[in-house]
Amino acid sequence: MKKNWPLWEIFVRSKNGLEHRHFGSLHAADAEMALENARDVYTRRNEGVSIWVVESKHITASNPENNGELFEPAQDKVYRHPTFYDLPDDIKHM
């Protein structure tokens, strides 16, 4: 058996109505095997109702070196958070 199967990222929907969430990654020869492996590795304790798999190489990630220009400009702009409204008491779950 080939030792270096490609890496896959696994996303699991915990229950209907919730979004798929990243659960982890594993190795598999192809998508079908990735689904079976994900089922065995991540969902045998009733964790999910749906699985997505995507080969890790298809994910484009931002470069941590660019964190300054990407994210820091937002740090001093607190007005971008909607925290300056007085909410009536009757409104719940905000």
Partner: protein, 250 residues
Amino acid sequence: MNKDLYKYILGLADNCLILGQRLGELCGHGPSLETDIACTNLSLDLLGQVRSYYQYAAKLKGNDVTEDDIAFLRIEREYLNVLLVEQQNTDFAYVMSRQFLFDTYHLLLLNELQKSHDVTLAAIAKKSIKEVSYHYRFSSDWIKRLGDGTSESHQKMQNAIDALWTYTDELFHQTEADKMMVKQGIGVDVTKLKETFYNKVSDILLEATLVVPESKYFQKGGKHGVHTEHFGFILSDLQYMQRTYPKMQW
């Protein structure tokens, strides 16, 4: 106690126990982390099914006999599993071939057992069939991958299928107890599953570009408690704790 029913339950359960034990031996030794976990999952599914069967058998037996007594404290000749499930984990092709041949049979069997007049057995079958459907999907998938893989994986898979083929016919043998259970509408008439079994197996083997063995020489004995030379070694592993520390609880 209905002795035939008791024996019939052991026949069903011991297959799962011994195959579960064999798969359990792979824990930490699988070819990759993912297949290691998958094989252990198969094992745990089977052991879960075993508990349901043995709890039922223990109730029939009475006299404070427990499921553990039945699992751990019988002698070799009292285990009634087929020879197929006790075969060694020679390599991953053997593990998957053994699994595939058993799963194909197991799925057909449980499908019929759901209609049993015995409500407990019917309920166990109904609960187990979803697990076993996945086992079948998993093992038949591996047969196709390795059979239709590289020339080396193809050869290894063919070797394993050829070697294990001799244990397939026994799956469809009936003991006297089995026949009694069929007569009473409790047991499954396995002789009727034989043709479907070989058709289904052949379809997958052909899809996997493997050759369906033509050998007509078959081994038997497990259903009567006559096992292959591997069995004593399995029992020494399986029974060690209960024999050394009687009544030990986890």
